[in-house]
C-alpha cells in the first residue's frame, strides 16, 4: 500500500461520510413532503424552490440552539452517547457496494472496503448501533429517557435474531459472506425470488431494528415525552436524529444489496460493453459505474418511499404485540426460511431456476399460512379502561 493509496482511501471515506449525511438531509425533506401529500397537506415549501433549502435551514437552526446538559446527568457518558449513535450509522456504509466502477486494478471505486465477511460486518455494526440509544437513555438521568433506552435495547435484541437469520438465507443462496459476491450472484435472478420469505422478514425486522414507525416505541410521544433523546438539545439531538435516518437508508441499501440485485439491472452489461466498444475502456467503465450507481440509488429510493408509506399508513404497535411479532412470528419464519433454503439448495444444486421457483412458492405458502393462523379472530385480551 503506497502513500497515494492511503490518501485515496481517506478521500473515499470522507466523500462517503459526507454523501451519507447529505442523503440524510434530503431524505428528511423527501419524507416530510411525502407524508404531507399522504395526509393531504402541502409540507415545507417555503425555503428555496419547493422547499429545497429546508434541510439547510433546519441544520442552521439546530446549530444555533442552546446546548443544555442536565445537572444530574452522568456527564461523560451523556456526551459520548451521540457519538455512539452516529458512528455505526456512518461506518455501516463501508462494505455496501454502491455500484460497479472498476478502477483497473481489480478494485471498485464505488465500494469502500471489500471484506470477505462483509455481511457479518454489517450485522455487527447494526447491533452496535443500539448502544447510543441505551446509554443516552441511562445517562440523561430521566425516567422517560431511561424507559426509552430500556425499550430500545429489548426491541433490538429481539429483532436482531430474525434479522440475522433472514440475512443468512441470502448468504446461503450466494454461498458467500462477501457483499460484492452476493451482488454478482444475482445477475441471473434477484434474490427476492428464491428468498421471498427472507426478504419479507428482513424488511419487517430491519424496520424494527432502526426503531422506526410502526415500531417506534422508543420515542412514543404519548407515553415517553421524547423517549431516549428527551434531555438532548441542539447538535446532540441532531446527531441522534441523523443516526436514525442514516441507519434507515443504510438498512434499505442493505436490503437492495441482499435481495434486489444491488447495482445490477437487466441490460447493464450490454450497455457497458457497447460503451466500451464505442469509446474505449475509460468511458465504458464510467458508463458502467454511473449506470449501476443510478440503478442502486433508484432501488434504495423506492424502498425509502415504501418506508415513508408504511409510516404514514400503520399505527404504532403495542409493546406486547411488538414482542409477539418478533419472537413468535418472525423468528420461526426466518428459521423456516433457512431450512427451506438449505434443503432446496442441497437437493437441487444444478437447477437454479427450479430452486428459485420452489423457494418462491414455498415461501409464499408459509407466509399465507402464517397470516391465516395469526389473523385476529375472537378477542383474546380485553382492554379495560378506567371508569370514574
Amino acid at each position: 500500500m503506497t502513500r497515494v493509496d492511503i490518501v485515496i482511501l481517506i478521500v473515499k471515506c470522507i466523500v462517503l461520510a459526507l454523501a451519507a449525511t447529505g442523503v440524510f438531509a434530503y431524505f428528511t425533506l423527501f419524507e416530510r413532503r411525502l407524508l404531507a401529500r399522504m395526509q393531504n397537506r402541502v409540507g415545507p415549501n417555503r425555503a428555496g424552490p419547493a422547499g429545497f433549502l429546508q434541510p439547510i435551514a433546519d441544520a442552521l437552526k439546530l446549530f444555533f440552539k442552546e446546548d443544555v446538559t442536565p445537572l444530574l446527568a452522568d456527564r461523560r457518558v451523556y456526551l459520548i452517547s451521540p457519538a455512539f449513535a452516529i458512528v455505526p450509522a456512518l461506518i455501516i456504509w463501508a462494505t455496501i457496494p454502491l455500484g460497479m466502477w472498476p478502477d483497473g486494478r481489480g478494485g471498485n471505486w464505488l465500494q469502500l472496503a471489500e471484506v470477505n465477511v462483509g455481511i457479518l460486518y454489517l450485522l455487527a455494526v447494526t447491533s452496535i448501533g443500539v448502544y447510543g440509544i441505551a446509554i443516552a437513555g441511562w445517562a440523561s438521568n430521566n425516567k422517560y429517557s431511561m424507559l426509552g433506552g430500556v425499550r430500545a435495547s429489548a426491541q433490538v435484541i429481539s429483532y436482531e435474531l430474525a434479522l440475522g437469520l433472514a440475512v443468512l438465507g441470502a448468504v446461503m443462496q450466494a454461498q458467500s459472506f462477501s457483499t460484492a459476491e452476493i451482488v454478482e450472484r444475482q445477475t441471473l435472478m434477484w434474490n427476492v425470488v428464491p428468498q421471498f420469505l427472507g426478504f419479507v422478514v428482513f424488511i419487517i425486522a430491519a424496520t424494527a431494528e432502526v426503531v422506526r414507525a410502526p415500531f417506534d416505541l422508543v420515542e412514543a410521544e404519548q407515553e415517553l415525552v421524547g423517549g431516549y433523546n428527551t434531555e438532548y438539545s441542539s447538535m446532540k439531538f441532531a446527531l441522534f436524529f441523523m443516526s436514525e435516518y442514516v441507519k434507515l437508508v443504510a438498512m434499505n441499501a442493505i436490503a437492495v444489496t441482499l435481495f434486489l440485485g444491488g447495482w445490477q439491472f437487466p441490460g447493464l452489461q450490454t450497455l457497458a460493453a457497447a460503451a466500451t466498444q464505442q469509446y474505449g475502456f475509460v468511458i465504458g467503465n464510467a458508463v458502467l459505474g454511473l449506470a449501476s450507481l443510478g440503478a442502486f440509488l433508484l432501488k434504495v429510493m423506492l424502498l425509502s418511499f415504501v418506508s415513508v408509506w408504511v409510516r404514514a399508513t400503520l399505527p404504532r404497535v403495542r409493546y406486547d404485540q411488538l414482542m409477539d411479532l418478533g419472537w413468535k412470528v418472525l423468528l420461526p419464519l426466518s428459521l423456516a426460511n433457512v431450512v427451506v433454503t438449505a434443503v432446496l439448495n442441497v437437493f437441487l444444486p444444478d437447477s437454479p431456476v427450479v430452486t428459485a421457483i420452489a423457494g418462491l412458492v414455498i415461501g409464499t405458502g408459509i407466509l399465507l399460512a402464517t397470516a391465516a393462523i395469526g389473523r385476529p379472530g375472537k378477542e383474546k385480551r380485553r382492554v379495560t379502561l378506567v371508569q370514574g
Binding site: 470477505n116 465477511v117 447491533s127 441511562w138 430500556v150 435484541i157 379495560t384 378506567v386 370514574g388
Partner: protein
C-alpha cells in the same frame, strides 16, 4: 509496516488490560459495563490485526452486539443496583492480588521456559499465507470438533432451561396483579358499604383543622 503493526498490537493489548482493570475497579456498575464493552471491542480489533477477519467480526457481533447489550439491559432493569456506590476494595486486597499472581506465575513459567514454539515460517514477500475462512471454520466445527460443539450446545440448552425454571413461578404462587381499573373498583367497593365511617372521618379531619 511491521513496526507499525507491532505498535498497534502493544497499544491494543495495553488498552485491553487497562479496560479490564477498570471494569473490576470502577464503582459505577454502568461504567464498568461500558469499560467491559470497550475491552471486548478491542479484542475484536486485535483479531483483525492478526487478519482473522471472521473471528474478529464474530467477536464484535456476539460479545459487543449481543452479550454486552444484555448485561446493560439487565443493569438498567435492576434499578437498585445501578448508582449504588459499593466499596470495591477490602482492607485485604493485597492477599487477593498475591494469590492469583503467584498461581499465574506458577502456571506460566514452565510453559514459557520449556514449550517448543512451532511458529509458522513468515510468508514470502508479496504472498500471504491462506487464512482459515468461514467455510473452513464451519467444516471444522461439524467434522473434527463436532463433540465439543455439541457439548457446548447441550450446556447452553441446560442453562436456558434452568433460567426458564427459575424465572417461572408455580401457578399457585403467582401473585395476581390487578389492573388499574380493578384497583379503582376495589377501592370503591371498600369505601361504599360504610358511609358512616367515612362521614366520621371527614368530620374528624374537619375538627382537626379548626
Amino acid at each position: 509496516m511491521n513496526t507499525f503493526i507491532t505498535i498497534l498490537f502493544v497499544v491494543f493489548a495495553v488498552y485491553i488490560l487497562v479496560a479490564a482493570i477498570m471494569t473490576v475497579t470502577v464503582k459505577n456498575i454502568v461504567h464498568a459495563a461500558l469499560w467491559l464493552i470497550s475491552s471486548f471491542f478491542t479484542v475484536g480489533a486485535l483479531y483483525l490485526l492478526m487478519e482473522a477477519e471472521f473471528i474478529g467480526v464474530a467477536q464484535v457481533l456476539i460479545y459487543v452486539g449481543a452479550v454486552s447489550i444484555l448485561i446493560l439491559f439487565a443493569i438498567m432493569l435492576t434499578r437498585d443496583l445501578e448508582g449504588t456506590q459499593n466499596r470495591q476494595m477490602t482492607p485485604r486486597w493485597w492477599i487477593a492480588l498475591i494469590v492469583p499472581a503467584a498461581l499465574f506465575g506458577l502456571l506460566i513459567t514452565p510453559t514459557v521456559l520449556t514449550y517448543q514454539w512451532q511458529l509458522p515460517p513468515p510468508a514470502p514477500a508479496g504472498q500471504s499465507t491462506p487464512i482459515a475462512g468461514a467455510a473452513q471454520i464451519g467444516t471444522a466445527f461439524v467434522r473434527e470438533y463436532l463433540l465439543p460443539f455439541q457439548v457446548a450446545s447441550v450446556l447452553l440448552t441446560v442453562a436456558l432451561i434452568g433460567a426458564v425454571v427459575i424465572a417461572f413461578e408455580e401457578r399457585e404462587r403467582r401473585r395476581y396483579v390487578p389492573t388499574l381499573a380493578e384497583k379503582v373498583r376495589q377501592q370503591q367497593r371498600v369505601r361504599r358499604p360504610d358511609p358512616a365511617a367515612s362521614a366520621m372521618q371527614s368530620s374528624e379531619t374537619a375538627g382537626s383543622e379548626t
